[in-house]
Every structure is written in structure tokens, then in C-alpha cells.
Amino acid sequence: MSSTSNLLALVLPAAEVDPADVARTTDSIDMTPSLILVLAIGVLFATGVYLLLERSLTRVLIGFILIGNGANLMFLVAGGRAGGAPLIGTTPTDQMSDPLVQAMVLTAIVITLGLTAFVLAMAYRSWQLHGHDEVQDDLEDRRVARPAARNAPAFEDSDTEESGATLDDEASQVYDETDGDGDGETDVRDAGRAEKDVPPPGRPGTEGGEGR
């Protein structure tokens, strides 16, 4: 939970800055953050970071959403205490809440929504191709690491141990901590396609109207 305490350390001094020192647009904003909000931010960030470290895209996505919401709450804290609707005529000026943070949170929520949809689509595509949504190891990394391991047998490197029959098998191996039976089902056919380098982009003779 160290991230939580770090966050508290971050938020508290930032919020405790004396409003008198800093000329704010509205001088009367009470900047003492609500402890519950701060705790919620801490919990959201801690759980979010934990999930981000997972290998499954879906979990990473949930982690991102949690952290994103933590950041949004942080904006609310940054706006000072809650107040009435910031419309002239409905609320006295000194009791209004800060509308700017709400606008920023709304923007951030919309952006998060769009990106969430994109990552979900990517996870789905990964599931279509491989039967799972786990992030695979990089083939080229292993290709570079192999000769290095061969040249220096004394240099023990368990990571480049040849566990699979081919480089593809090795790279496509799935390391899912929660996968009990350990069957990292992989569509080897597809990994094989990746090995043969993505075909050169572009089709000759199609749509090359420009400049021919």
C-alpha cells in the first residue's frame, strides 16, 4: 500500500497551500480535502496499479479505469469544497462550487470512455486470434537474446532457456498467474505468421493513383 501513502503525501501538502498565498480567482474556496475522498483516491490507485501489472488486457483495462477514476476524484478534491450550482442567479457567488474542475473531469471521463472501448476491442481481437487476451513476449527480443546466450554459456540466463520447440512457442507462452492448469492455449499458426515478418505494407498497383 505504499502507493497510497505516497499519494496522501502528495495530495495533502498540495491542498494545504494557504489560499491567501496564491491569488485564486475566488478567494473564499475552502481547500481542506475530505478524508473520505482522499482515502478513496488512495484505494483506487492502489488497486488500479495492482491490476495494471497483470498480463491480461482485460484486467489491465480495469486497472486503468480504476486509476482514471482516482484521478477524476483528485480533480474534485482540487476544486475545493462542494457547493451549489455555479449559475449566477441560482447560487450566491461565495457558495458556488468550482465549475472548471467539473468540466475537466467530464472531458477526462469522455476520453477514458473512448479509450476503454478501444482497449476492449483490442482485447477482443486478441481473443479472436489467440483464444486469450494476454500480452505476449516479443519475438525479436528473444531472437536477439538467443545468440547472446549461446555465446556465453557461463552467463546463466533462465529467461532465454529454450523451453519451447521454436521461438514462436517460446514467445507465445502465456504466463497467467491465475491460470491453474497452466494451459496457455495459443494459436501457433498465427504466431508463425508473425514470425515471417508482417508482409510488406501496401499492395503494388492498388490505389496508388497519386504520383504514378
Binding site: 482540487a78 474542475v101 500480452v135 519475438l139 527480443d141 510488406p200 496508388g208 504520383g211
Partner: protein, 523 residues
């Protein structure tokens, strides 16, 4: 209403035009021909507007309040010398890469690839880059970043092959994380100062507690450091870039990391002019240069090799920024301009090599100098430029950095000077290795006898020529960079431009109100 058509009219165009064109291109997805015309026209206009701004900004920053809402209540767009210069180079590069991809047959080789999505996304990317360069507001900068990143996610995973989804996962997750860090930094900045307007922040941040200020600076550096791929935050880059189609990789390599570098320059000079993290930045610059280039030496695939040199050369720019002097900043700006051009060119050339030789693996290529001498020239010039061989522009940028490093003369800057030279030599080594293997050695396997479409060679040649022009025009360009650096080292120039004394701006009073109060005597 203020309807004088000055340079200020040009400022929103680089953002608005591509966005509008993107919508149009999306609506016309059934008509590839119309899409091509729209994209090329939009980016050409952006280039023209940027050149206009480049000229206009030389007389001082141009500020536009979006929607006539005055800063700091409204969002403002600011084009100063640095923004205008970055904008011009990036829009030229974007246009060339677009023409290249048109010549290539657009975007992807797979039959089912969503080709119709390529143009709108590419235009959105252009809008995001322009928005990031022009933004005078921290939150708008974030929005600019998100626009360009969202577009880049789509471009990187275009076609959705297994390899691209793998690379895309890494890229997207890292980018999402950096965005959240940026968002947190903005929230904390707002909590501490009550504003996100850059000029107002520059006025208020000095009053903030130094510890809090340091925290904000670190968070912003962290967020931008991931985007700019500074070691140790650079591991995602060589993993994800090489799998994308050649034009996409080219534009990513040229522009996206430089947007991060731009954001670092902007925030370091404007918001945190007391420079307390310069020592940290210097160490990071040194490590980025050396470790990046050592990674490049080990690679056996040209695309990955170039990705590692990209990481490595970000170190040069950070070196210039970290010296926090006018000369260092000028050298950095010049280097950014040079590097955008040369790195994009090289990736485009690699696209041609891939087309001609059927692979980018150095083990499979060979003898290209004999069968495609034109290609060899196109590769050789930017490659030598990247390595910094005199008299090319890479050499000039490096000389500027080295001079300032020696002039400052602290042990750390000397270490950086040595590191820069070593990195430069190792770049030469890595590039020559690629040159020898791909162009000189006899081909290990028979190369396919495909030709390279003229539509692809043309824009590449234009970029190579532009890289050479940077060398010939280095005098004026360098002095422009020096003037830009002069502005940057005097944050008051920027602040005064956004909040001129003689108007209601700065109090958030729109010009309409000012006019009313003054009985309509305002402009």
C-alpha cells in the same frame, strides 16, 4: 467583433482544418479518391498556415482566445517561435508521409484492412500534434496528447494482425499510464494554484511551496518522459514501433516523441525556470544516449535498429534542455528539427528497402547498392546525417550542444560531451553495419525483383532534400532557433503576450465586455 485578418487568424487553422477534413474523409469512406484529395488539401493548407505562423511569430507570440473567451477563463492558443517552428516541420513531414502512403497503396497490404479509416485517423493525428504545439493551457495540452494518442493507437494496430495487436497492447497500456500521470499532475497543479493556464501558472507557481512545486515538476517530467521515451521510460518504444506499416512508423518516430520533448521544453522553461532538476535530467540524457545506442548496436533488424537510435538521440535533446542556457536550448531546438526530418526519412527509406528486398532483417538483405543505387543514395545521406558526419545538419546540432557543454565546463557536462561523441560514433557504427549488410554484402537469398513505386520514392526524395536544405539553410534556421530559445529563457515574453497590460485579459474579461465598458472604443 474583431475581424481583422492578421496572423492570429492562422493560429487555429492547423487544429481545425485536419479535424474538419477528418470528418469529411470519414463521411466519404466509400470514395478513396475523394479521401485522398481531402487529406492532401487539408495538410497542404496546414503547411501553408504553419509557414505563415513561422513568419508571424518572429515578431512575438501570437495569441488567440478560442471562442472569444479571454484567458485565463477561456482556452488560448499561443504560437510563439518554438511552436511555429515545430508546427512547420511537423506539417511538412506529415504531408510527405501522407503522399508516401498514397504512393504505397495506402496503409496496409492485407485485403481486409480498413483502408478507409486510414485517412481520417491520420488527419486526427495531425490535429492532435498541432493542438499540442499550440496549446497555451495545460489541460488543452492533455487533450492534444489524447487526440494524437488515440489516433496513434488506431494507426499502430491497423489491420489487427497478431503481431500488431501484441505491439499495440504494450504501446496502448504504457501511453494510457502516462496520460493518467499527466492528468494527476494537472489535478495537483490546479489544487496548488487554481489555474491550468500556462501563462498564469508561470505567474503563480513561484509562490507555491518549493516541495509541492518540485512534486509537480517531477510528475510532469514523468508523464512527458514516457512520451518522449527517455531512459528508463523508453522500453516500450523499440517494442511497438517497428511492427506498424512503414509510413505510420515514420510519422510516429518523427513526431510523437518530439511532442513529448516539446512539452518538456515548454514546461521546463515556462513553469519551472528555477531548474532544480537539471542534474537529474543530465544524468537521464547521458543514460538515454548511451544505453539507447548500445541497444541499436545489438539489433539485426533495420526498423528496430532505427527505433533504438531514436531513443538514443532523444538524449541529445534532453542534454540541451538540461543545460538551461540559451545556447543549449537553441542547439536542442535545432536538433529537434533536424531529428524529426532525418528519422522520418530513414523510416520511409526502410519502407522502400522492405518493398525492394522483401525484408528488413539484415540477415536476409544484401547487394542493394548494386540493384537499387538510387535507394542506396536515399539511405546513405540521412544515415550519415543521423550519425552526425560534417557538414550535415546533425553535425551542426551536435556541435552546438558540445560547444555549450564545454562552455559550462562542469564535470557532468564534460561527461555528457564525451557521452555525446561516443554515442555519435556508435551511431555511425550501427548505421554502417546496416549499410554494409543491406547494401554491400552479396545477397544471402535471391531478392525479389519488385520495383519501388515512384509515388513512394518522390516524397522520400523530397524529405532527403529537405534534410539537405536544413544543412544549407542552417544559418538562418539556427539563428531562428536562437531567437526562439531567447524567448523561452525569458518566460515574461510569453506571459506578457497572453496577458497584455492594456486590456481586460488576465482578469478573464472577454474583449466584448471590455468594449462595452470602454464605450466601444476597443479594437
Amino acid at each position: 467583433m474583431n475581424l481583422t485578418y492578421g496572423f492570429a487568424t492562422l493560429v487555429p487553422l492547423p487544429v481545425v482544418l485536419p479535424l474538419f477534413a477528418a470528418g469529411l474523409a470519414l463521411a466519404l469512406w466509400r470514395h478513396p479518391r475523394a479521401q485522398h484529395i481531402i487529406s492532401v488539401a487539408a495538410l497542404s493548407l496546414v503547411l501553408a498556415a504553419s509557414i505563415g505562423l513561422l513568419v508571424g511569430a518572429d515578431n512575438g507570440p501570437i495569441v488567440v482566445d478560442v471562442g472569444e473567451w479571454a484567458a485565463p477563463v477561456g482556452i488560448d492558443l499561443v504560437a510563439d517561435r518554438l511552436s511555429a517552428l515545430m508546427l512547420t516541420v511537423s506539417s511538412f513531414v506529415l504531408l510527405c508521409v501522407l503522399l508516401y502512403s498514397l504512393g504505397q497503396g495506402v496503409a496496409d497490404g492485407h485485403d481486409k484492412a480498413p483502408v478507409s479509416i486510414y485517412h481520417p485517423t491520420y488527419l486526427v493525428l495531425a490535429a492532435g500534434v498541432s493542438n499540442a504545439f499550440l496549446s497555451g493551457d495545460l489541460f488543452n495540452l492533455y487533450v492534444g496528447f489524447e487526440i494524437l494518442l488515440a489516433a496513434s493507437y488506431v494507426l499502430l494496430t491497423l489491420g489487427g494482425t497478431g503481431e500488431r495487436i501484441r505491439a499495440g497492447s504494450i504501446y496502448v497500456v504504457v501511453a494510457l499510464l502516462s496520460s493518467v500521470i499527466f492528468l494527476v499532475a494537472i489535478a495537483l497543479t490546479y489544487a496548488a494554484t487554481g489555474t491550468v493556464n500556462l501563462a498564469q501558472l508561470a505567474e503563480r507557481l513561484p509562490d507555491v511551496d518549493p516541495g509541492v512545486r518540485m512534486t509537480l515538476q517531477l510528475l510532469l517530467l514523468l508523464a512527458f518522459g514516457i512520451k518522449a521515451a527517455i531512459f528508463p521510460l523508453s522500453a516500450w518504444l523499440p517494442d511497438s514501433y517497428p511492427t506498424a506499416p512503414a509510413p505510420v512508423t515514420a510519422v510516429f518516430a518523427g513526431l510523437l516523441t518530439k511532442v513529448g520533448v516539446y512539452a518538456i521544453i515548454r514546461t521546463q522553461t515556462l513553469l519551472f525556470p528555477d531548474n532544480r532538476l537539471d542534474t537529474v535530467l543530465m544524468w537521464l540524457a547521458l543514460l538515454t544516449m548511451v544505453i539507447g545506442i548500445l541497444g541499436a548496436v545489438a539489433q539485426n533488424d533495420i526498423k528496430r535498429l532505427l527505433s533504438f537510435t531514436l531513443v538514443s538521440h532523444i538524449g541529445y535533446m534532453i542534454f540541451g534542455i538540461s543545460m538551461a542556457s540559451e545556447a543549449g536550448m537553441a542547439a536542442s531546438i535545432f536538433y529537434v528539427v533536424h531529428h524529426i526530418t532525418v528519422q522520418t526519412t530513414l523510416f520511409l527509406v526502410v519502407g522502400l528497402i522492405e518493398r525492394r528486398g522483401g525484408s528488413t532483417s539484415l540477415d536476409k538483405l544484401g547487394g542493394l547498392a548494386k540493384i537499387a543505387p538510387g535507394l542506396a543514395i536515399l539511405f546513405f545521406i540521412p544515415a550519415m546525417n543521423l550519425a552526425g558526419i560534417p557538414p550535415l545538419s546533425g553535425f551542426l546540432g551536435k556541435v552546438g550542444l558540445l560547444q555549450e557543454g564545454v562552455a559550462q565546463g562542469t564535470p557532468l557536462t564534460w561527461a555528457l560531451v564525451v557521452g555525446s561523441v561516443v554515442t555519435s560514433l556508435l551511431t555511425l557504427y550501427a548505421i554502417v553495419k546496416a549499410w554494409n549488410k543491406a547494401f554491400w554484402q552479396t545477397a544471402p537469398v535471391e531478392l525479389p525483383s519488385t520495383g519501388t513505386p515512384r509515388g513512394m520514392v518522390g516524397p522520400t526524395t523530397a524529405l532527403v532534400a529537405f534534410g539537405l536544405a536544413l544543412t544549407f539553410a542552417a544559418g538562418p534556421l539556427y539563428s531562428y532557433a536562437e531567437r526562439a530559445a531567447g524567448n523561452l529563457m525569458q518566460p515574461s515574453t510569453y506571459v506578457d503576450a497572453v496577458f497584455p497590460d492594456d486590456s481586460g485579459r488576465g482578469q478573464g474579461v472577454s474583449s466584448d465586455l471590455v468594449e462595452e465598458e470602454q464605450g466601444g472604443e476597443g479594437s
